[in-house]
């Protein structure tokens, strides 16, 4: 099972949303990380077939998705971002409708719906109208419809957006649980989501791939570039234009600054620390002064 994305290019008028993006994905969880407008949703919608690329192709097991047509959609599970739902459908009716779109038989749909509702912890709310659901519950319903019918490829566009920590953990656990033999691509700009579950992170910046690697490897790449220093307010004001500041904490009247820099600071004692994914995010996606990548 391999999903290949080759030189995918998409533009909207003059704005280049995706520029020659190529990826090769095997079973596992892949996180698409990038700021707003990086091209994450565009890439997701291209894979899902909602929009057509200008150039390039998407192949699944050697065949293009266009040639596969609806057979590709049979093995696809898609959870779009911030989706509007049928407000007067109950959760059960909505999943029944999605089951009918997925071509399931009645018996299979009954099993799949029950399983999906249990997975997303909405079994008790099955007969409640979607209009009365909270944002988190709506996200879970969307997750439920995506995982029904055992898709081989799961595309989740910002599945944890707008959720509280408890809900986010729940969604992450669901992804981990079902991702055994699937290709799961989920887009996020919440780095903690990636640390817990992603096999590889794809850093997208301005429509191009900035880096593709495991979270650990991405952190290793910033070896010797992440520092922590204790400094006074005056020193901070003097140096802040030179530094890419990640974190600022006041402790006992002193400022503890965590920052990224190609070289250690002169004149200020700083110690190198192990980078984490937030540092990696900042390294690649910080705008303006201090941007390093």
């Amino acid at each position: 099972m391999i999903l290949e994305i080759q030189n995918l290019t998409k533009s909207y008028g003059k704005h280049m949303a995706l520029n020659q993006v190529s990826l090769s994905l095997t079973p596992g969880v892949y996180a698409l990380l990038g700021p707003n407008g990086a091209g994450k949703s565009t890439l997701m919608n291209l894979i899902a077939g909602n929009i057509r690329q200008d150039y390039g192709k998407i192949c699944y097991d050697g065949k293009t998705t266009e040639a596969l047509g609806r057979e590709f959609r049979r093995i696809l599970g898609f959870m779009p971002q911030q989706q509007g739902l049928y407000e007067n459908f109950t959760a059960y009716r909505f999943l029944s409708y999605m089951a009918s779109l997925k071509g399931m038989s009645r018996a299979k749909a009954a099993k799949e719906i029950e399983w999906a509702l249990e997975m997303v912890h909405l079994a008790d709310n099955r007969n409640q109208r979607l209009g009365a659901f909270s944002g988190g519950m709506k996200q879970r319903v969307l997750m439920a419809q995506a995982i029904m019918n055992d898709p081989e490829i799961l595309i989740l566009d910002e599945p944890t957006a707008g959720l509280d920590p408890k809900e986010r953990i729940r969604i992450r656990n669901i992804i981990s649980e079902i991702a055994m033999d699937k290709i799961v691509i989920f887009a996020t700009h919440v780095v903690s989501d990636i640390e817990q579950i992603a096999k590889e992170a794809v850093m997208l910046k301005a429509g191009k791939i900035a880096a593709v690697n495991t979270p650990e490897a991405l952190c290793d790449m910033l070896e010797g570039k992440v520092f922590e220093a204790e400094m006074s307010q005056g020193e901070l004001e003097r140096l802040e234009n030179q530094l890419l500041i990640r974190n600022l904490v006041k402790r006992d009247g002193r400022l503890i600054v965590r920052f990224l820099s190609e070289t250690p600071l002169v004149g200020v004692y700083s110690s190198a620390v192990r980078a984490d994914l937030e540092d990696v995010y900042l390294y690649y996606f910080a705008n303006g002064k201090g941007a390093m990548a």
């Binding site: 609806r70 009716r93 089951a99 399931m104 009645r106």
Partner: protein
């Protein structure tokens, strides 16, 4: 008070509430403005006649209708018709005015009779009636005693009756009231807010009091708004009303014992409506408070309405009158309590119906107020509510995986398609229920003759024509002879008038007979049968309404299709659902196919609702005799290029109309998919399709050449008798259909 204002803000001052009130008010205005109180009398004529009669002095008022009628009959009136556009209408109007004047004239006698009948009960020879009857008659005498000596004058009864008697207004007000009262409770229950509210200091007694007061305010507002508008429309259509005239001067209100003026009665009427609506609002609120799921509220309402209507009917036709008067329908009507003096027999004692009305409504109001308070503040109040049916926990029925079923649900329920269809049925019903199924004047005689002459001409029919002609000639000769005798003073004027009356009645069918003769000549010349063409001409655009009615029907059809289909498709795009649906296995071609079937079904249903009533109406009024005969049997259709039986002609017209409807539906779907926005799709389609129809109805024909107008009417095309035009038209329609289908297949239905 704050609680009260908050409740008002939550229901009446929010967009959905205001929207519902506005929509219902608009519908009320449209329906009342198009109401036809009398089939044969124009509204303008009524207005003129009421204004004219109201200012006539009493002496002249009594004699005017008879004098005018006689002058019209004998041809002695040469100043032009006073009120109507045609003689038939004038004649019916005069009869109506005579009835009203008779009521006014006979009123003192009517009052005297009541007193006399009561007085007779004291005389022993009349004392064979029951004790109740005796008491009843005496009660009636007492009730009408204050009215003795009252002089009635002619008043504009039409304004009064149309302002105060409208079942449609009651239904609309009750519908809006239902919505407002339910929304006062259901939203908070669905979101579990009552759990929080009832735990606060003012969350029980004060809260329910605020809701009940808000319900009362709704009753006041809706009464003043809807019935106030009714009064304004009635005055605009039928003329001003003399508010200081006695109530009994209104036609049909002579049986009322209320000693008040029209103005005072209107105040009483408004007050009664306010109280009744308020009490019914309390009932709906109680149902909402008690219900654990929304279905129970609807079931409760339907049950209450059903039981009420059943009791109303049962009570009217059986001896159990109390059922007829002690139920919701009677209370809502209001007018029934005041229009006639009536007593119910309560253990041998007469109880006036007005007392029963007010007693019932006040008791109901008190009981419902108490029950609302008791249930809401009690321990067993159901703080939550589920939408739909109550489902048994642990037993979930198997899922429905029929795509068609889900799409139909979306179309009818989520998209409120059922509302549009119901409105269409109501509008059509309203239009046709007001039409009379009788033919009048010349057409009546013509129809009788043609039914007699139906089929091929034979000896017997020719002999009948000859004899009828002979009868007419003889009557004309008789009239001529008597006129000459009168000129020579051999007979008196009275004799001449008597002969003229007799002869004019016998000569009434003459004009119709002339038409029959010319039809017989045509039939003989062309070897065709005699077919009564009245209904067919109406259907094929040659009737009195011509193409206007075709265009009105088409307008309704087009508007309904736009309102049904545009939100159905465009709404899914603007919601973003198509982004999800399009990634599913059956989310493209199959979904498009199912949507297409739904669109086609919508077309069929809308066409049936729009076109079938007219077919039924034509059948009732004119009939479809000779439908198997060739269209050439009817002169106006004889030179057309469609040579075939009348049923085939009919099928062609309606078949093409259906094709035009199907093309319209396809275009709407295509534009909806293209715009991906309901408002844009509706506006575009209304501008492109409905507006040209509206312009045609207003008499502006320019748009006919740059729109689908001709295809909607079809008669416009066929009556131009150009085969090329018809073929070109059909080709255009098919091209449009194919274009729309291809576009949809390429956008929505693309698999790869």
């Amino acid at each position: 008070m704050r609680g009260f204002f908050r409740e008002i803000q939550k229901t009446l001052l929010r967009l959905p509430g205001m929207g519902v009130i506005f929509a219902a008010l608009l519908l009320n205005v449209c329906l009342l403005s198009t109401k036809v109180p009398y089939e044969m009398i124009e509204t303008d004529a009524l207005k003129k006649a009421n204004a004219y009669m109201s200012v006539l002095p009493r002496g002249k008022l009594w004699e005017f209708p008879d004098r005018y009628e006689k002058a019209l009959e004998t041809g002695g009136w040469n100043r032009g018709l006073l009120f109507s556009e045609n003689m038939d209408s004038e004649y019916f109007l005069i009869q109506e005015m005579k009835r009203r004047i008779l009521q006014i004239k006979g009123y003192p006698e009517y009052l005297r009779n009541i007193q006399e009948r009561a007085g007779q009960q004291e005389i022993s020879i009349f004392q064979d009636t029951s004790e109740y009857t005796r008491r009843n008659l005496q009660a009636a005498a007492r009730a009408f005693a204050p009215l003795i000596g009252r002089q009635l004058s002619f008043v504009n009864s039409d304004t009064f009756l149309n302002a105060t008697e409208s079942a449609v207004t009651d239904v609309l007000v009750l519908g809006v009231l239902f919505y407002l009262m339910v929304s006062m409770v259901v939203y908070e229950k669905e979101h579990g807010l009552f759990r929080i509210l009832r735990a606060t200091a003012d969350g029980r007694g004060a809260l329910i009091r605020a809701k009940l007061l808000a319900g009362a305010f709704s009753g006041i507002l809706l009464t003043l708004l809807f019935w106030g508008v009714n009064l304004v429309i009635a005055v605009w259509r039928y003329g001003a009303l003399n508010l200081s005239a006695p109530l009994q001067a209104v036609y049909g209100y002579d049986g009322s014992c209320l000693n008040m003026s029209i103005g005072q009665y209107l105040a009483l009427f408004f007050l009664s409506k306010i109280v009744v609506y308020t009490v019914l609002g309390f009932l709906v609120l109680l149902l909402g408070i008690k219900a654990r799921n929304t279905m129970k509220i609807y079931i409760g309402i339907f049950l209450a309405a059903g039981i009420s209507m059943t009791c109303y009917a049962v009570g009217a036709y059986s001896g159990i009158h109390i059922l007829h008067y002690m139920n919701l329908q009677f209370l809502v009507e209001v007018v029934s309590a005041y229009r006639f003096y009536f007593n119910l027999n309560f253990f041998g004692y007469p109880v006036p119906i007005i007392w029963l009305f007010w007693g019932s409504i006040i008791c109901m109001g008190g009981v419902l107020w108490f029950l609302n308070w008791r249930v809401f503040t009690g321990k067993h109040f159901a703080a939550d509510i589920k939408r739909g049916w109550k489902r048994r926990e642990g037993k979930q029925r198997r899922p429905n995986v029929s795509l068609f079923s889900h799409e139909l649900y979306k179309f009818l329920i989520s998209g409120h398609g059922w509302v549009i269809l119901c409105l269409l049925v109501i509008l059509q019903g309203w239009m046709y229920v007001q039409k009379s199924t009788r033919v009048y004047g010349d057409e009546y005689y013509y129809k009788q003759y043609m039914e007699r002459m139906a089929g091929r001409l034979d000896q017997e029919k020719v002999r009948f024509l000859w004899e009828e002609q002979k009868n007419f000639k003889e009557n004309e000769k008789l009239l001529e002879k008597k006129q000459k005798e009168y000129e020579k003073k051999k007979i008196s004027e009275a004799e001449l008038n008597a002969v003229m009356q007799l002869v004019s009645r016998k000569l009434e069918p003459k004009a119709a007979f002339q038409r029959v003769l010319s039809r017989a000549e045509f039939a003989e010349r062309h070897g065709t049968p005699m077919v009564y063409e009245g209904g067919y001409l109406e259907l094929f655009g040659y009737g009195s309404s011509g193409e206007q009615e075709d265009m009105q029907q088409a307008g309704m059809m087009v508007a309904a299709l736009i309102l049904l289909l545009a939100p159905y498709c465009a709404g899914e795009y603007s919601q973003g659902m198509m982004k999800l649906v399009g990634t599913q296995y059956y989310g493209r071609r199959r979904t498009l196919w199912v949507k297409g079937i739904i669109g086609l079904l919508a077309c069929i249903v809308v066409c049936l609702i729009v076109y079938v009533p007219k077919l039924i109406y034509i059948g009732e009024v004119y009939g479809y005799a000779g439908i198997l005969e060739n269209a050439a049997a009817i002169p106006l259709l004889a030179n057309g290029f469609l040579d075939g039986p009348l049923w085939a002609y009919l099928l062609t017209v309606y078949g093409l109309r259906f094709l035009a409807a199907a093309v319209t539906a396809a275009l709407i779907l295509a534009v909806s998919v293209n715009r991906k926005n309901t408002a844009q799709a509706v506006s575009l389609m209304m501008a492109a399709l409905a507006l040209p129809l509206g312009l045609h109805i207003l008499g502006i024909r320019l748009a006919d050449y740059i729109s689908l107008n001709m295809f909607y009417s079809v008669n416009q095309m066929l009556n131009q008798r150009t085969p090329g035009l018809l073929i070109l038209g059909i080709c255009m329609l098919l091209l449009l259909l194919e274009g729309a289908a291809l576009y949809l297949a390429e956008t929505m239905g693309r698999e790869g």
